[in-house]
């Protein structure tokens, strides 16, 4: 009996072992927003069909995604934290950074808007007002691209957010929206996730369309010197794919059927300076 069970166990292990040669596996290190929005469910199969390679998507916060890639634990990164990205490129861990697309962040909060920030043109001023009035604010607190952008805004405002009004959820965008909704608090969200949660939360947009709220995604290849066994060709193929006209068109169309508006704007070929 036991011997038979063991045989079955060993057979199933063997069956589940990867059969492909390593060069056809590309590890993509990316953020939760690209996965949670469903964009990768569209793009990854396109890439796999085109190249015959198979993509392993690891979706974590941008901070972790870049840290993993910089250790050579991935082949290519698709993330949204320009300042951090430039740091890794300068250090030589990542290379060939190219802009892919953008969407935007919005400041949302309770309908009664205790800090009276509705319609303010500048995000920094809105955050200052939230801090002054000690209105509750939920931060991601997870080194994600969204969190890094938020920290950048606080820095510009010259405020070190601290106190009982400043809540760190330590979770993804979806859960953080849930916390903000329950606690009647302000938060910063990417528009895509906010749209996806419309049915569950009641947090209207209060501040939007300010330049610093742009959410820019780039693709970068991992420098083969960053670690052993990096699939250089696979990483480059995926990065090239992300900025190809066909993919850019798919990005432009993504989300229109579900939300009535596109979630991302493709910007391949542009530079950071073009967006200032």
């Amino acid at each position: 009996m036991l011997a038979r069970l063991l045989l079955v166990a060993l057979c199933s292990v063997w069956l589940t072992a990867p059969a492909q040669a390593q060069s056809t596996n590309v590890i993509l290190s990316t953020t939760t927003s690209t996965q949670d929005s469903g964009l990768l469910d569209v793009l990854v199969p396109m890439f796999e069909k085109k190249t015959g390679m198979s993509v392993k998507t690891v979706s974590v916060g941008t901070g972790q995604a870049l840290a993993l890639a910089a250790r050579g634990e991935a082949d290519v990164a698709l993330v949204h934290a320009p300042s951090l990205e430039r740091k890794y490129v300068d250090e030589g861990k990542m290379q060939n950074r190219r802009l892919v697309m953008y969407n935007d962040f919005i400041i949302i909060g309770p309908e009664d808007d205790p800090a009276k920030i509705k319609g303010m043109p500048r995000a920094v001023d809105a955050l200052k007002r939230i801090a002054e009035t000690q209105s509750r604010f939920v931060s991601r607190g997870d080194k994600s691209g969204t969190h890094l952008l938020e920290l950048g805004l606080w820095k510009q405002a010259g405020i070190e957010p601290k106190g009982t009004w400043y809540i760190e959820s330590g979770q993804g965008m979806g859960q953080t929206l849930g916390v903000a909704n329950e606690r009647r608090a302000y938060t910063i969200a990417d528009r895509g996730t906010w749209l996806a949660f419309q049915k569950r939360i009641n947090l209207p947009i209060l501040v939007e369309k300010d330049k610093p709220l742009l959410n820019i995604y780039s693709v970068m290849e991992v420098n083969p010197a960053s670690g052993p066994r990096v699939n250089v060709a696979g990483g480059k193929a995926f990065a090239d794919f992300m900025v190809s006209p066909e993919t850019q068109a798919a990005i432009r169309a993504f989300g229109v059927d579900k939300f009535g508006q596109a979630l991302f704007v493709p910007i391949a070929g542009k530079t950071d300076a073009d967006l200032q």
Partner: protein, 231 residues
Amino acid sequence: MELIGQGVFEAVRLLLAGDREVWSVTWLSLRISATATLLALACGIPLGTALALSRFTGRGFLISLVNTGMGLPPVVVGLFVTIVLWRSGVLGFLELLYTPTAMILAQLVIAAPIVIGLTLAAMQQIPDKFRLQLLALGASRRQMVWTLLKEARLPMLAAVMAGFGAVISEVGASLMVGGNIKGSTRVLTTATVLETSKGNFDVAIALSLILLVLMFLVNWALTWIQQRRAG
């Protein structure tokens, strides 16, 4: 409450509609966790038996370690297995990270101490006199161990249930070493986390219910074997 009702409805709909993704995720959960449990039994039963029947210095300490291991936090296991399987890790050359095999490995680490601990307890509840009697009747050491194992087989089914229950319901390790990759390493628990973070609460509830039903069916079958033999 309305949401849970929606979830139940969604679960029934997904299963009846033969949603391919839901079925493949369910099947993968079962396959990975069953394999991990069987492997845990293969190494846990001999080790637990050896620990129950032998006497040596440091035995108490070792048993304490096993008992601690019975409550090993899955995220801790996940973290260490990930680091070992990284390309830069000790076993990096195997290219196992983000594969079902890596998940089986992590789940094996979680389940093995449970099987060892419960085997130890099952063997120890057999009166010592019985063992001595067997030896007095001229049984060889091998025959003695075999008879004791047969004697302990019913409580040891509890080890199977506890081990399987621990690994099929854990999410921390599976998420870290598997990466929750669609069509490859996405299992019921990691899919539930993902659907929750996407805001698809009805699908998340549906997946949870499928997991509960799956666990119930497996335990039902095991309990049936256990009680039939007991009766």
